[in-house]
């Protein structure tokens, strides 16, 4: 099953490498990983998407918790949560296709953020599944480039993952 694990960790050099290293060393898979500093400069927030059986996910969270730089973590998929990913996608958009692409972008509530005679660059935000749906909806031959951030996640409700 797919799990989104959100990690609060010391903003130390090498902290990211420790997490990545743990996954390769123990043979766990990482689907995506995003990391950036938080409002507290000494902390980074990481969102990690992985797949595995309940036993494997339990080990993953335990092993992550064991890393000295990890302050706290939560498996977001255990409760209500929000997941957002951003995609930048560059599409071939020539005369005949321009209108249809524009309509598709509107349906997905995306934005065209760069335009040339022959192309559109679209910004799209949402859950990973929505981005996948957009990519599938577009004619494959029109896709020039796809850039995705990987999901970031946050729990629902007033509580936060903090110190």
């Amino acid at each position: 099953m797919r799990h989104i694990i959100s990690i609060l960790m010391e903003n130390e050099s090498g902290a990211l490498a420790r997490v990545a290293n743990l996954f390769t060393a123990r043979g766990y898979n990482i689907e995506s990983l995003t990391v950036a500093p938080t409002e507290d400069q000494s902390l980074s927030r990481m969102t990690l998407v992985t797949r595995g059986s309940d036993e494997i996910i339990e080990q993953i969270t335990k092993q992550l918790n064991k890393l000295i730089d990890v302050v706290k973590l939560v498996d977001l998929t255990e409760g209500g949560h929000l997941e957002r990913e951003m995609m930048l996608i560059k599409l071939r958009a020539e005369r005949t296709q321009r209108e249809e692409i524009k309509r598709l972008v509107d349906i997905f509530r995306g934005k065209i953020i760069d335009v040339t005679d022959t192309s559109y660059t679209v910004e799209l935000t949402g859950a990973a599944s929505k981005l996948n749906a957009f990519v599938e909806a577009v004619n494959e031959e029109l896709i020039i480039e796809v850039v995705r951030t990987g999901p970031s996640g946050i729990g629902r409700g007033p509580k936060g993952l903090g110190l």
Binding site: G14, A17, N21, Q59, N65, K66, I68, D69, V71, L163
Partner: protein
């Protein structure tokens, strides 16, 4: 007090109570070595290879319970140390490893003797640090000792660029007495509710077994373990790493379990209804095939490391906490006693165990003129009155030592269980002997293993370490040969080790006493003579039966109840 980085390191070690540092100098650590030269409190032991510095610091830690400390230079110094670090990591040994690094401004430029030490050691340390500012040095060292020695112990590496130790730059010195880390809070107490729940299940058990490991030794929990086991009257088996915590001659001890465990221990594991695992990690050499592991048991697991619980085998009652405290609390709950053990059922259980025991699974041919390796260990036990520190390397000799030297005290049996590092024994013994200069320290080794760190004979001479090396010389990598005999139709591919130096002459050339014995009737005399040299290192080359194998043996992929007991025997 204003000190340079090099001086700060030495002062921190003093303040931490470190008496011995095992190491080897080089370019990146010259400033530190200069600071060592100028003082007398911290004694430096110069090894002959950095791997040995690791094992020596490790052996020191295992024997004393205090963190071992090593110091090596950058590049090859650090890479040579990796085997020592990984060995300590796998067995959760507290160690602080100081490595030199090229100066900060040239890091990343492929400078001379530069290697990414933090990167290379990351998977085999509990934690590691690169010190980037002199102001952080003392606190980093404090953190390293704190992390290494608390929770589940382990090695911590501190990588120190040369400019940080510059004697020309001095800052005020302050060594923090405590550190607090928001990201690191090891559990200090096991949950009483879980303990009570566990005791309740234990009291209902009809066929209980204690299965205990290195965690009991590491937490100095031998006393509460022994008290608990004897109070309950339950049988106990110990892992390779746990030997000595409960006395080997104790009446409830079934012997070691696992691949080369005793018949009674493994059968008891297979038949048990309540397994009490303490400070053990369900290693594959212990469990055999996990699908067949303790099929009928409710499993209680006490461990300081939450990630050990349900890692390999699903656990029913987990208790996360320091084993010493948990065992003490458990004993208290037992003694306050709302329930009693099921004595009638236990009596039947013991009768069953005695039946298994009567198979006498460790028997071997004692009439042979060729010395049997088992006998050599038994004679060693007799001559040292079972009270020596015994280190070993890895292979058949290690198993024979574990099976036949019945360790009655914890921290006496010192071997590389997790990583299985050949070359561990001699340098580990150096660490033990440095810690306990008057103690009898024996290395049980093989002709293949000993050659992996043989250069340390020079270190032993320099520091007058009267170690006794008992070489069980069978002319093979015995365990490799055994597997090839069993599973590769005796195709002994590259496992022969008949070309060795004359160990007697070699030892003599290093300035020690060398001896050889090759007849059973001369064995005890030779062993006594070896130990009569109180102040000398003696290397006793014991020529043993090359065909002897380690029994019992659980074949790979089999359960505890499927063992080979003797040559040519079927699975029982």
């Amino acid at each position: 007090m204003e000190l340079s980085g090099g001086e700060i390191i030495v002062q921190c070690l003093k303040d931490e109570g470190v008496e011995h540092v095992f190491g080897y100098p080089g370019g990146a650590v010259l400033h530190i070595y200069d600071a060592i030269f100028k003082q007398k409190d911290v004694k430096h032991i110069l090894v002959r290879h950095e791997q040995a510095a690791g094992h020596a610091a490790d052996g020191y830690a295992r024997a004393t319970g205090k963190p071992g400390v090593m110091l090596v230079t950058s590049g090859p110094g650090a890479t040579n140390a990796v085997t020592g670090i990984a060995t300590a990591f796998m067995d959760s040994i507290p160690m602080v490893v100081l490595t030199g690094q090229v100066p900060t401004p040239v890091i990343g430029s492929d400078a001379f003797q530069e290697v990414d030490t933090v990167g290379i050691t990351r998977p085999c340390v509990k934690h590691n640090f690169l010190v980037k500012r002199l102001e952080d040095l003392a606190e980093t060292i404090k953190k390293a000792f704190y992390i290494a020695t608390t929770g589940r112990p382990g090695p911590v590496v501190i990588d120190i660029p040369k400019d940080i130790t510059d004697p020309g730059v001095k800052i005020p010195y302050h060594y923090p007495s405590k550190v607090r880390m928001r990201s690191y809070n090891p559990v200090v107490k096991g949950h009483l509710g879980q303990i009570k729940k566990a005791v309740k299940i234990m009291m209902e058990a009809e066929r209980p077994v204690f299965y205990t490991g290195g965690g009991v030794v590491l937490d100095d929990a031998a006393k509460p373990l022994t008290d608990l086991v004897d109070t309950l009257g339950f049988p106990i088996t110990q892992t390779l790493m746990g030997l000595g915590a409960y006395p080997g001659s104790g009446k409830h001890f079934l012997g070691m379990l696992g691949m080369h465990g005793t018949y009674e221990a493994n059968m008891a594991m297979h038949e048990t209804d309540v397994l009490i695992a303490v400070g053990a990690r369900f290693d594959d050499r212990v469990t055999g095939h996990v699908k067949q592991f303790c099929p009928d048991a409710t499993i209680i697991h006490i461990d300081i490391d939450p990630s050990s619980i349900s890692k390999n085998v699903r656990v029913d009652i987990p208790i996360v906490g320091p084993v010493k405290q948990v065992l003490r609390d458990m004993l208290k709950v037992v003694n306050e006693g709302e329930n009693n053990p099921k004595n009638q059922a236990l009596k039947q259980w013991w009768e069953q165990i005695e039946k298994w025991r009567s198979m006498d699974c460790l028997k071997y041919d004692q009439s042979s003129d060729l010395i049997k390796p088992q006998q050599a260990v038994e004679v060693l036990h007799k001559v040292t009155k079972g009270d020596a520190y015994v280190t070993s390397d890895v292979g058949q000799h290690q198993m024979f030592a574990a099976q036949f030297y019945r360790f009655d005290k914890p921290r006496r049996w010192i071997n590389s269980g997790g990583l299985g590092t050949m070359g561990f024994g001699l340098p580990a013994a150096m660490g033990v002997q440095m810690a306990f200069p008057k103690a009898e320290v024996a290395v049980v080794t093989g002709e293949s293993s000993i050659q992996m760190c043989i250069q340390e004979l020079a270190t032993c001479l320099q520091y007058e370490l009267p170690i006794k090396i008992i070489l069980l010389n069978n002319g093979y990598m015995g365990m490799v040969r055994q597997w090839q005999e069993f599973f590769y139709e005796s195709r002994y591919s590259q496992s022969g080790m008949s070309v060795t130096p004359d160990f007697v002459k070699l030892t003599e050339s290093y300035g020690h006493v060398g001896m050889r014995v090759d007849k059973t009737k001369d064995l005890e005399g030779a062993m006594k003579e070896a130990f009569s040299h109180k102040d000398r290192l003696v290397f006793l080359d014991v020529v043993v039966d090359p065909a002897e194998n380690v029994y019992p043996m659980i074949a790979a992929g089999k359960g505890h109840h499927e063992m080979y007991l003797s040559p040519g025997s079927e699975l029982v």
